[in-house]
Subunit: 331 residues, 2 copies
């Protein structure tokens, strides 16, 4: 295994978020599943857009948020994801490159526009996402450059990639390529409903393809179809080298062979918007690991990033994660 060009290469849906405050009434009247990411088509996206309040737009996407967080920590990141050659696609590309992330997946010239996700933030700071995958359905194995993959310590994949069919092939090509190069493969389960859609595949991935698994409490319980967190913890124990399980205000639990760490959550001032909390945690944890920190410290860095992320609207860092983590770890 040679020197690495990147700490982490992320592969995921390239999405521009449409971030908006919403009342629970709207979620109820539209029959939305609160807290979940629901896939919708272009017509439905337009219909819902007409019902939401004035919004702001910012680059999003789960794995893309993680790589943005890694870059904010000072890590070397790359991203693979598909946008269309349109205004929002240019926004997405700009926002990745501007923070030093390597991103050169060619945009589509025809077909659907760049993906958008309406992120409805309710007064309890919970987020409910309505996602139109747009150009993301055109990500395929040809977009995976095995040389790039081989140059990254970790290849990080979002579970949401299992939704657009061709992306699944890209996912497996990348995972195999990473292992053949002696690198690690990491997966985030993304969403309990996403786990429901793809449980058998995800179980197979966790057992046979993934070294570092990220999941929150609901996702890992959904994966193993168990009723309590500890059962899920015991189930995942033998399946991956490392499982990083997040539990919101209860902190996180890291399992790696015989090693188990129970890490408290960081204090949060005002809870504003939970969008991207898991993405930010993965950024911190992977940055910790790839920069040689132990599991406990890596989990703490993840927690610090997640706490920052939920203190403001939007999923991308609002301050330098690097400065923040250095300050918090000194204490």
């Amino acid at each position: 295994m040679g020197a690495s060009r990147f700490d982490v290469i992320g592969i995921g849906n390239a999405i521009v978020d449409i971030l908006v405050h919403a009342d629970d009434d709207l979620l109820v009247s539209e029959g939305m599943t609160k807290g979940a990411m629901t896939l919708i088509d272009a017509d439905e996206a337009q219909r819902i857009y007409e019902k939401i309040d004035a919004a702001i737009e910012c680059s999003g996407g789960s794995a893309a948020n993680t790589i943005a967080g890694l870059a904010s920590l000072g890590g070397a990141g790359a991203f693979v994801g598909k946008v269309h050659d349109d205004q929002l696609g240019k926004v997405f590309g700009h926002d990745m490159r501007a923070i030093g992330v390597y991103f050169d997946t060619p945009p589509t010239e025809s077909g659907p526009p760049t993906a958008t996700s309406m992120v409805l933030v309710t007064p309890d700071a919970q987020r409910t996402m309505q996602t139109f995958l747009g150009a993301c359905v055109n990500l395929g194995p040809d977009d995976i450059d095995l040389e790039l993959i081989a140059g990254a310590q970790v290849t990080y994949l979002e579970g949401y990639l299992w939704d657009p069919p061709a992306a699944k092939e890209a996912f497996l090509k990348a995972a195999d390529g990473a292992h053949q190069a002696g690198r690690k493969v990491s997966l985030s389960l993304s969403d309990p409903f996403c786990v429901d859609r793809h449980r058998d595949d995800f179980l197979d991935l966790a057992e046979h393809h993934v070294d570092i698994l990220f999941a929150n409490e609901e996702e890992i319980m959904s994966l193993y179809q168990v009723e309590n967190f500890d059962d899920a913890l015991q189930a995942v124990r033998g399946h991956c080298d490392i499982a990083a399980l997040t539990r919101g205000e209860k902190g996180s639990v890291i399992v790696s062979g015989d090693e188990v760490h129970v890490v408290d959550a960081e204090a949060v001032g005002a809870l504003v918007d939970t969008t991207g909390a898991g993405d930010a945690y993965a950024a911190g944890f992977l940055f910790g690991l790839t920069s040689g920190r132990d599991l406990f410290t890596s989990a703490r860095i993840g927690g610090i990033c997640a706490a920052e992320c939920i203190s403001h609207m939007g999923a991308r860092p609002d301050v330098s994660f690097k400065d923040l983590v250095e300050e918090k770890l000194r204490k």
Copy 2:
């Protein structure tokens, strides 16, 4: 003068802001005029975009921000401005209509894209704008519906409209139409450099066409080419029915014939981003006037809205102006 359908109709450049934190170093190395709005072409916009950090996008435009603020106060607002039929144009239109603003200016189908303004916010919370006018150059007199104008208590015009040549004609058509219908015409001077570009025209407007003038300290001193605020105050006194002069942390001064009010600024918690402070002030003041408040109270409402605006990134209201003003005026 019949019943009014709208409290205020705003006419201005329809712009999507690209909001970004920036260091003073970038402003210096690019030779930007700090605090000003500078017009740039498409190539220059692209060149600068590649130099700025990851950003967020939100609807902007000076008069559009004012009408958005008016709507947030519970006022009935309409807006006239030109976008292109592209993604950002749709964003702009959505954000106006979503807050209840009447907006039906037809978008262009050819020519330049929707206007964007890179709003660079430095650590001192000052904003420096680099604006590509895009589709705004295609706003013309045909876009002015005199029936709409006649139905609004106040027609509000931004000085920036004097930059795109055809918009100037639209501006004058709207102002004449408003007066013929027995309505009021209001103008914001927008920017001291904009005043420099169009001083003779603005002097003529202030004297002959405008009933309610908004200007900050630098703008009104630039208009009359005087060295201190009081000289400007004396100069403007006979020119308009009402002049509302804003002075940042020194509050505002309202002049109307013999009446003069000196109104303290509202307390601001954290000063984050001054973008849109003047727009929000105008929203509050015009809402006050059109809802029958006296000049002092109208100025206070303006100050409350401006203080809220500068406490967060972006020019549009972050909370309900209506709730905020009701709470503050009760005290």
